[in-house]
């Protein structure tokens, strides 16, 4: 057993074996290396978020974890409920019987009602129809879809479909949920309801591996984050630790007429770091007071003073340029 991850200061202190452990994963498509030497682990009860821009290798990493595409190098281990050490992809079926997966694209059956979707999906896990009939009402209730039990996915909103996908993924009572961008494309109400449900699942002891490019989602749900880009791990830690490590604690955004000149003006020295993005200057500092005093003398400028957040970290680590297909 590799103790590298549990010995890592970032990981929560625990003496249990990680549930899922990926070591030195490499994946190439032709000459294009999509994932390079990526290692991470998920401990029982933990929510690990993989964040990165489009094309960073998030979905490929998830697909390798699910045994859908074999890594070109590296090792994926999983500890079963009985404590057996399983490997992906050799034990793919045994591992998947303990997983719940919500993929980026809904794969619901359009011809089935909500409850039939759950029954049929449960049958793939070898669950009896009596068992499934017992489990389904609770799952629909959890997904706030009890009223829609007889409706087909075509009649559901985007948020409802995602929650049905989540309910379906819970049918085998999984230990680890694997969620690929679970709230992409949802409105704020639907996102908040999804987050609430995922937090409930964490409270009852489920583990979650999720990918996202919403920083508020990562901050809210994840115990630990993995920032990746171009298939490499850029940083790993709790959201707070990552911000403290990589970003000055305070940010002052300045915009308005003349703001752009500030980047070369003497005021620049009042901040640890400054950045010009479009028409806005970002000052990163440990003490914003003197900077703010000086900015107040130029009333034409508009300022926003705020604590540093994950988005600042994300943009610092992965850059601000727009990606292909973004």
């Amino acid at each position: 057993m590799n103790d590298e991850q549990t010995a890592d200061v970032m990981a929560p202190v625990s003496d249990v074996a990680p549930l899922l452990q990926c070591e030195n994963l490499v994946k190439r498509f032709g000459d294009n290396t999509v994932v390079q030497d990526l290692s991470f682990a998920i401990n029982p009860g933990e929510c690990l978020g993989i964040i990165g821009p489009n094309g960073a290798g998030k979905t490929t990493t998830i697909r390798m974890c699910l045994g859908l595409t074999p890594p070109d190098a590296g090792h994926i281990g999983y500890t079963s409920v009985h404590g057996q050490a399983l490997r992906m992809p050799q034990d793919a079926l045994a591992i998947k019987s303990e997983l719940g997966v919500v993929s980026q694209m809904d794969t619901l059956d359009p011809d089935f009602t909500c409850e039939e979707n759950i029954w049929v999906y449960g049958s793939y896990f070898g669950l009896s129809s009596a068992e499934l009939r017992m489990r389904t009402p609770g799952l629909l209730d959890f997904a706030v879809l009890s009223q829609k039990a007889k409706a087909r996915p075509g009649e559901l909103s985007g948020g409802m479909k995602r929650r049905l996908s989540l309910a379906r993924a819970l049918v085998n009572n999984p230990r680890l949920l694997v969620l690929d961008e679970p709230t992409t494309g949802l409105d704020p109400q639907a996102r908040h309801l999804m987050w609430e449900r995922l937090q409930q699942l964490l409270q009852v002891g489920k583990s979650i591996l999720l990918t996202t490019h919403f920083m508020d989602e990562a901050e809210r749900l994840c115990d630990r984050l993995l920032v990746i880009d171009h298939g490499r791990k850029l940083a790993e830690g709790t959201p707070r630790e990552l911000i403290a490590q990589h970003i000055e604690p305070e940010v002052v955004e300045v915009y308005g007429p003349g703001a752009q000149q500030l980047i070369t003006a003497p005021i620049r020295s009042r901040a640890d770091r400054a950045e010009l993005v479009g028409d806005t200057v970002f000052f990163y500092t440990h003490h914003a007071a003197s900077l703010l005093l000086e900015l107040a003398r130029q009333p034409s400028l508009r300022t926003l003073h705020r604590p540093a957040n994950l988005e600042d970290l994300f943009l610092k680590l992965t850059g601000r340029q727009i990606r292909e297909g973004a």
């Binding site: 793919a92 019987s97 303990e98 809904d106 799952l139």
Partner: protein, 288 residues
Amino acid sequence: MTDTAQDTPPAESRKRYRRVWGDATQSPWRLPKLDGTFRPVFMRNFLVWRKLAIPSLVGNIAEPLIWLVAFGYGMGALVGSVTLNGTAVPYLLFLASGSICMSAMNAASFEALYSAFSRMHVQKTWDGIMNAPVSLDNVVLAEMLWAAFKSLFTSTAIMLVMLALNISTSTHLLLAWPVLLLTGITFSCLALIFNALAKGYDFFTYYFTLFLTPMMFLSGVFFPLTQLPPWVASIAEALPLANAVALVRPLFMDQWPADAWMHVLILLGYAVVGFWLALALTRKRFAM
């Protein structure tokens, strides 16, 4: 009650999964690994179909029956009878025995192309299934058997209509039934090869116009193979549909087919090689 899923024991206590040994980056040409997990996937297709069975049944048997009526009675009046191995066969019986094989072929091909492609590519049903403990090999097996089942259902319905029309009442028809199932299996396997290669529905038009339609005319459905130039006939004899017709037609005529095992083995050969090829190409498609 939000933690219902928590109250029940984990699923793995009731089901055991075997480890697949071998290299992590396995060849797509490795042998199929099939087991009973195809059953829920087959049942899934059955449950969807059950909702639409009656309208689809009408569509499935109406077309072949129109062919039969138009050609059988229309052409039959002109042709009268066809001489086959020295026996005169009424044209309607000749055509009926050939066209039921053609219907088995068409039903299997449609299901394993258009419907399977919808499930695989458009609806992403396969992706959903493979997030559960069901392997791609078994999903492909389920699709193959499902298309064969639908084909058998169609040919059974047509056979019942033929019985009602008193076209043939031979007890040998009971044996035509497993032959039609084999025909369905063979054409499902062949169609799944093209399903694995398809980028869109348009691709299937080629399969129908370049492969199935010529085969229909070269397999002795409408006229005996002896009408063809000898070199064409010898190629035609190797076609899967020709072998199906060679088995089914004598049974309709209350005779035993000659060289029955050879025809069965040829159909089985197409099925086995077709399935293996279809699976390898589908594995390649999904390994991306």
